[in-house]
Subunit: 385 residues, 4 copies
Amino acid sequence: MIDFSPVLDTLKIELPSWAFGNSGTRFKVFGTPGTPRTIQEKIADAATVHRLTGLAPTVALHIPWDTVDDYAALRGYAADHQVALGTVNSNTFQDDDYKFGSLTHTDKTVRQKAIDHHLRCIEVMDQTGSTDLKIWLADGTNYPGQGDIRGRQDRLADSLATIYQHIGDEQRLVLEYKFFEPATYMTDVPDWGTSYAQVSALGERAMVCLDTGHHAPGTNIEFIVAQLLRLGKLGSFDFNSRFYADDDLIVGAADPFQLFRIVFEVIRGGGLDADSPVALMLDQCHNVEAKIPGQIRSVLNVAEMTARASLVDVDALTAAQEAGDVLGANAIFMDAFYTDVRPALAAYREERGLPADPMAAFAASGYTETIVAQRVGGTQSSWGA
Amino acid sequence: MIDFSPVLDTLKIELPSWAFGNSGTRFKVFGTPGTPRTIQEKIADAATVHRLTGLAPTVALHIPWDTVDDYAALRGYAADHQVALGTVNSNTFQDDDYKFGSLTHTDKTVRQKAIDHHLRCIEVMDQTGSTDLKIWLADGTNYPGQGDIRGRQDRLADSLATIYQHIGDEQRLVLEYKFFEPATYMTDVPDWGTSYAQVSALGERAMVCLDTGHHAPGTNIEFIVAQLLRLGKLGSFDFNSRFYADDDLIVGAADPFQLFRIVFEVIRGGGLDADSPVALMLDQCHNVEAKIPGQIRSVLNVAEMTARASLVDVDALTAAQEAGDVLGANAIFMDAFYTDVRPALAAYREERGLPADPMAAFAASGYTETIVAQRVGGTQSSWGA
Amino acid sequence: MIDFSPVLDTLKIELPSWAFGNSGTRFKVFGTPGTPRTIQEKIADAATVHRLTGLAPTVALHIPWDTVDDYAALRGYAADHQVALGTVNSNTFQDDDYKFGSLTHTDKTVRQKAIDHHLRCIEVMDQTGSTDLKIWLADGTNYPGQGDIRGRQDRLADSLATIYQHIGDEQRLVLEYKFFEPATYMTDVPDWGTSYAQVSALGERAMVCLDTGHHAPGTNIEFIVAQLLRLGKLGSFDFNSRFYADDDLIVGAADPFQLFRIVFEVIRGGGLDADSPVALMLDQCHNVEAKIPGQIRSVLNVAEMTARASLVDVDALTAAQEAGDVLGANAIFMDAFYTDVRPALAAYREERGLPADPMAAFAASGYTETIVAQRVGGTQSSWGA
Amino acid sequence: MIDFSPVLDTLKIELPSWAFGNSGTRFKVFGTPGTPRTIQEKIADAATVHRLTGLAPTVALHIPWDTVDDYAALRGYAADHQVALGTVNSNTFQDDDYKFGSLTHTDKTVRQKAIDHHLRCIEVMDQTGSTDLKIWLADGTNYPGQGDIRGRQDRLADSLATIYQHIGDEQRLVLEYKFFEPATYMTDVPDWGTSYAQVSALGERAMVCLDTGHHAPGTNIEFIVAQLLRLGKLGSFDFNSRFYADDDLIVGAADPFQLFRIVFEVIRGGGLDADSPVALMLDQCHNVEAKIPGQIRSVLNVAEMTARASLVDVDALTAAQEAGDVLGANAIFMDAFYTDVRPALAAYREERGLPADPMAAFAASGYTETIVAQRVGGTQSSWGA
């Protein structure tokens, strides 16, 4: 049986706190019994995922959804649950002031408010020990003429520069791009090129965040992965999958082979090396499926696909590529993809005292029944849109 | 100046009650002062659009969003405001029971509940004098394997047949299709072919509803218009526009030329003839723009594009087409599109005692100020997602 | 080891004669040594694929590319090579007369010429013993206004009706649809709905052909498969795969999971049953990869995916679906997909005297070297665009 | 009547020599009587477009399609026809050696051959007085695994650096990007970000070329225009339009409003200023429409849309944008788009001794009849795919 420890021993996948809360569409957000009401309950759920998979040691926070009075205490709470606090995600899209933009707004007062929010996020990071400030902006316009594309871009650059000045020596700013939504005509950071141009202007500790669901139809995402790694600017991933728009489905669910190709390029570009700057994170919504097993499934999908991608015989592949042997090269690639790595991964887990089948272990654990019984009353966490 | 009365005198565009309430995205629904709290206030706003444009004599209802105790009274209220109640839209997507489907659900109890809802909608129609029951289903699945595609389709056929039995002789059932959203993997009525196959199995009073925002990227919508008119199954339009997904922007805002081509095919296929079965309706969201002028703008866009499309010299076009004169035919087509019909439409309105510039007239009317002052307290209408 | 004989014993995949000739893009068609110059050489190549896989007993013809004087002799030639002649594909897109349409042309003379071509194809079928006449039309327009969408559709219906009258009792007419290309604005049979409406008007022996590369971006193809099977109108498949447009790549190469879902619906709808009307065929171009192994790879991909799809535990799946267990249902589905069926298929082949690894067997056979040596001079087959 | 001379007096649109030759699809290239056989005849046709529009003073060359022995003589020939030779376009996609890449090829010999081709193109530029070397690469792969994405990118950078060393002080290298085609899986320069990163590494005289047909579905092209102008790296446009893929239709034909938005951003970013580095060029195929009037129509479309875009009341627009008046801002934008500028442009032309209606003037000129009579025999120019 193949030994996957070289690739799996260092694999870490951050979980988003909000994946454990309710989410949905503009048509309906379905609630479910047991949904967390607090960040502490979200951390407890995330810790459960880590306990069963051994692969998810950190939890990302979303401010203000996860705001608490005492972040040091929260850090301790997480540590007590054997996980750490990770990336801090800012939110400048749910305040009436941000209706027409935040870091790009024409009104200096609104821009400053948005900048200040990020400075507070950095303060949170200082207390939680988080290294990454992730900025995803909902800024954009819905109608042609509504905004000045160029002016908005210039203001964005100014705002980011101000924020970046406060990023500590051991901290990073990662700028996420998104093709569309919520804006329907123009998004201020729509593509990797824009994020790359903006973070390049900031400095070394500014990087691009690639969300796998944020591209135009048909976009070759693994190319972007390879390119950003080549340019030294791939800071982090937001993993999920999609059939149409930013569906935020479980990573690998919509197009497993695409995930394989992406992970292959991550490995190819050194993204899983010990000194790699690439942080892996999930960013998903579990609208109709159970949330905790949804996260377990996602972590397993990334691990399995990493295992498969690591199987590619790179020397043979290179030889076939150089020989112009299209079918041969493709066959080497596909052979890795089609190999069933699940038994080896189960064995790998068992060797480490983890359950062979984390999904079954979770179902058998009674955790769901416990939280359904305990989490009664209060307001279930959600995006609060 | 061109006389557009032949095409404009019979043009009627139904307004959706929900366009006057708040709407948004899964990220945020922005409220605005003056937003209606009740269906009566929505009707008052819609009547304002009609008073200024003369083109919007009916208001569509959404059940349960617009549920009242006394529909006869509501009908009278509308009549007092010089408008009538139009299409009744059902809603089987906001109840927990419908999480995994409504008319397609595997559970007979849920299906019956959804059927019963439609029967109640028909009762509403009987009281309001509405002729059209519009069914748009959120039914679908998010993950491969989640549902049995074939079984869902068969159950849909059964459910629709039951509902159709209750459609009165002067009433119609129109079935809307949608490419995706809220479902992210499979939609049970994803395309015109499915809607056509389903309504064809029902009978003559079942027709297809075409929403201009519900197609795959690149779809030639005017082709579908021409085809459905040819097949005698185009029942109604839901007008809006989009750049990416179902953006629900103002009709004609994203791609004016596409609207021109669509309206041209409507005219070509007799869809604006006196005896045409084609009902025109708006179905839009005004997320960041003002709602009432948003509706006025939309009505004017349809009217202006109808005027432009009526300008196409069909005899000359036919001659160029038959001669294989590609550039000549296209030039005849584009000449109509590029003609500025706005002065003629302003004159047309003035002749009928309507404001030459309805947008300016609305701004000058003080209506916004009045409703902002009056509509204080209560809960603003919205989708309540 | 799993016994796949129930599904594989009856599996047959037709090969297109043109896959063995040169093909390419509008930018370049690359030739390769050994490419067939005649239909006989194409048949020899196809027979080689069948000899090594046991799954490709028939070869589709394209008229006029494969025109011969004596079709009875050609039938005998094929039989001598242990294959039979299959579907006859018409071609009404490479004659100057067809620049502006064939079966849809405004000029009755051109329409009649195109009809007559199809009647000659039926005569060919009578001689070859082919049962299917496949019609794919390049008809369409490049610019808005260039053609009358409705009139073209009506003429298409008339032309098809004339052709259908000549279809024998044991023969079928299958009408293929295509989203775009070569037409860039409007395609006369752009979607399954149009093909379905047209063939339904013809009669029982007219069916729809679904080419997996002919849909708008994001289209859920397996839904269409399920729907057409439900409506009893799925006549045949043209298998290939694509990332962007009609790329005509090896089936399963771009999105293996999509192929899995498609085949699952084929099985679900009885499309592989003994009495199924569904014919499976490849329709691919091998622009840069070797052609014969490209076809072998394709046949194997369909077989392997059929094996995987047959592994879905339908009872368990149904139970999970009815329980609203989204993750459970998806897991059952994915488990089949991720199972490595290749060893079992190799064993299956060996039991039947076929090579365990047909790709390796072909490489070792010396066939390529032989045809490169023998096929010198003459004109290599291609589309001749 | 509006005076458009400020924007039109400096407007120049380069014509591609190949637009006058035959082009088509992989299915068929239709020829037409009168099609040029030589670059001289193409120049004569291009000069006709300029004579009638006054807007197309230069002709782009494609090497080797337009190879001649004596470029100085060709330069004189053009001057005699009142036009100049413009951009030189290289071609590294029609040689068997380039089947698996050119500047990105794994084989150093092939890379050097492709580099040498570009050095010869620079020599041509030295003789023709052309300032721009345009590089569009067909390099890419059709199957996952076929090539090493990262390695190809690195080799591309090396090859471009070698070529750039030979670019003269008054010359520029412009690198075009393209989403897909002819490659169907991975394109080596797929997006503006890649082109930007590559040319940024070269130096000041390396710029990005934006072809309006080379983007993923739904891409906001005007955003890219604004961004590249902001970054100082927009070197040139290849104008055309598309509904689906790289359809190469007449610019403005598919989505006139998109062209308006693009030109608005060009003006907004100074792209039409006297000292602007932005070169405007057509890059189109006239597959079914007449070629010379197709180019005239295209030039007029750009001019008309430039006139419309220049009408936007920027001060009023800015005020509306800053006030958050979405509908007001959009209305100002649309008002310019819907203004019929054609009479003013006709007057503008007449004032300059040009025909009011260049299309009609061409039809009346007898030019077509003349070339049909004269250009008999020889081989019509085409891509020769």
